[in-house]
């Protein structure tokens, strides 16, 4: 499932990509493919190898083994970089010059003609809500404005493939929502988007496919809904009572595998959430409790992520 099948339709093809740092393995022979025009999420906990992978794909570092192709071009080559836009995780624009000068710098580094560069820079600054402050020094920008500018810089050369490493991390809701809306519209126009994130909601909302990486190895590559379906055991019922209750009494209900207290609610994991909801209603009635809320929950992408990464930890002993 994880082996890429070489195809003209692939925007990204990764085969046995491996990276060591000081003898420690950071990315362990991963292989996958991303079809053109898809929105691909690359998920994993901190230190899993997400950023190292993006850096190898964008030519910032060289792999120790394996290869990666972007639209058939070797990753890291000038030609591959020319068709890629990058929003690195820890990168900044130049803060001692204006947003406009940052964009013109990018345009010149990508060899764009002057008029086209100015036209596109104006367009993206408008789209990102930065045009009125285009001549301000970037050091006067907020974090959200800087991140929007970095996205402008990545989009300026009209790349076929856009790499984004945690683009909304630590941003306010408006900036985050604006960036997500723009990414959706870019994807709708046919751009291939490679997004690394540890925000499961974000991946669930945006991605056609996700890959999960843990400790340098890929543990799954599939559509978010299919990944959720692989974790049936994470079906649950969330219940809240108006009166205090004993946790033990909930654990004794038929079909309950695990109970977790979450604030003023209890989350009960089961294989049959419908039956458990009925049992809870009866339990509430027979014990004279006030039922404040009762929701059946299907597994989230986060549940799938936790289940898959936990499974790998268990398998590895």
């Amino acid at each position: 499932m994880l082996k890429p099948r070489p195809a003209a339709n692939n925007a990204i093809e990764v085969t046995n990509l491996t990276k060591y740092y000081n003898g420690n393995i950071a990315v362990d022979g991963i292989s996958f493919a991303v079809t053109k025009g898809s929105f691909f999420g690359f998920l994993g906990p901190n230190g899993a190898g997400k950023t190292t992978t993006v850096r190898m794909l964008t030519g910032v570092i060289q792999p120790n083994k394996g290869k990666a192709l972007l639209s058939g071009l070797p990753a890291g080559s000038i030609e591959a970089k020319q068709i890629s836009g990058v929003v690195p995780e820890m990168a900044n624009p130049y803060i001692d010059i204006s947003a406009w000068h940052n964009l013109m710098l990018m345009a010149e580094l990508y060899g764009m003609p002057g008029n086209m560069a100015k036209e596109r820079a104006g367009y993206w600054l408008h789209e990102m809500g930065l045009f009125p402050r285009k001549d301000n020094l970037v050091k006067e920008y907020s974090k959200g404005m800087k991140q929007r500018l970095i996205l402008c810089m990545a989009l300026l050369p009209d790349p076929q493939i856009l790499f984004l490493d945690e683009p909304t991390s630590g941003l306010d809701v408006q900036s985050s929502r604006l960036i997500k809306d723009i990414l959706r519209s870019l994807n709708a126009k046919g751009k291939t988007i490679f997004l690394t994130t540890h925000d499961m909601d974000e991946a669930n909302q945006l991605c056609d496919y996700v890959a999960i990486i843990n400790k340098g190895s890929l543990v799954a590559v599939d559509a978010p809904e299919k990944l959720k379906a692989t974790t049936d055991s994470r079906h649950s019922v969330e219940v809240s009572f108006g009166n205090p209750i004993e946790l033990d009494s909930l654990e004794k209900l038929a079909g309950v595998r695990e109970v977790k207290k979450q604030g003023d609610k209890y989350r009960l994991y089961t294989n049959n959430s419908g039956q458990l909801a009925i049992s809870l209603a009866k339990y509430s009635e027979s014990n004279g409790l006030t039922l404040v809320s009762l929701n059946t929950l299907i597994p989230s992408l986060e549940d799938a992520f936790v289940a898959l990464t936990d499974k790998e930890e268990t398998d590895n002993g």
Binding site: G59, V60, I78, P88, Y94, I97, H101, E108, I150
Partner: protein, 250 residues
């Protein structure tokens, strides 16, 4: 790499040089420091001694060129590491040699432009340039050589600018004292000459004495050849070592 791609990379190196000049060089303190620091260092030696402007100018010109061309170039890589702009640059369609060449070109331009100021002042005070073409060629080679040396100082993959500046100062100050600036090569004992020959600044100062005093010690072609060799060696070393350490900066 074919010719077209090579030309494209050279153009992009100029873009990087323009960026460096705009961000790091065009600052009042940097420009003033480029002139004042060598001036005061030189005056501390010259004041109280009966030295003519013709004698002082070659050494002073050498110091200004040396200090300006190595002033900022060692700091660019650590600053870009610290400000986290380097990764963005490395993901653009440029090669590592293009980035290095851009940094060298910025430093080169700064060194040449600032060095023209004392030369103009000297001309105003009555000095003559006996071999202007040779002096021009020497300044170009020396500025390139010293800029590449500056890049060599910053190969350690640190984001700590002060560490790099301390390291570069540890090299730069002794170099000034062994390079025939304060005592011309002709007047140095043999052991002094042997030490002086390991410094690239020696050859530029000697060349400047040929051009401004007609009293150089080595043949002009030796001075030019040595500067060219040092420039090539420093540039190749800077490229090789930065190639090794650059990935550790991100």
């Amino acid at each position: 790499m074919d010719k077209k791609a090579l030309f494209q990379q050279v153009k992009r190196a100029l873009v990087i040089a323009k960026k460096d000049i705009r961000i790091y060089y065009l600052k009042g303190p940097v420009v003033i420091f480029g002139i004042l620091f060598p001036l005061f260092l030189f005056l501390s030696f010259a004041v109280g001694r009966n030295l003519g402007i013709e004698f002082m100018m070659p050494g002073f010109l050498g110091m200004v060129l040396f200090f300006t061309a190595t002033a900022i170039s060692p700091a660019v890589a650590p600053m870009e590491t610290q400000l986290k702009t380097l990764e963005r640059l490395m993901s653009c369609p440029v090669t590592l040699p293009t980035i290095i060449l851009g940094d060298v070109l910025a430093s080169f331009a700064f060194g040449i432009v600032i060095s023209l100021i004392p030369l103009m002042v000297g001309l105003g005070l009555g000095i003559s340039i006996y071999q202007p073409v040779v002096l021009g060629l020497g300044m170009i080679l020396a500025a390139f050589c010293f800029s590449a040396l500056g890049l060599l100082f910053s190969v350690a993959p640190t984001s700590n600018t002060s560490t790099i500046m301390m390291l570069s100062s540890m090299v730069k100050f002794p170099v000034v004292f062994i390079s025939g600036i304060f005592i011309p090569l002709t007047n140095l004992p043999d052991w002094g000459k042997a030490i002086a020959f390991i410094s690239p600044l020696t050859y530029f100062t000697d060349l400047a004495r040929h051009c401004l005093q007609t009293s150089g010690h080595l043949p002009v072609w030796v001075d030019l050849g040595a500067l060219l060799t040092f420039a090539a060696v420093f540039l190749i070393l800077a490229l090789k070592l930065h190639q090794k350490t650059m990935p550790r900066r991100v």
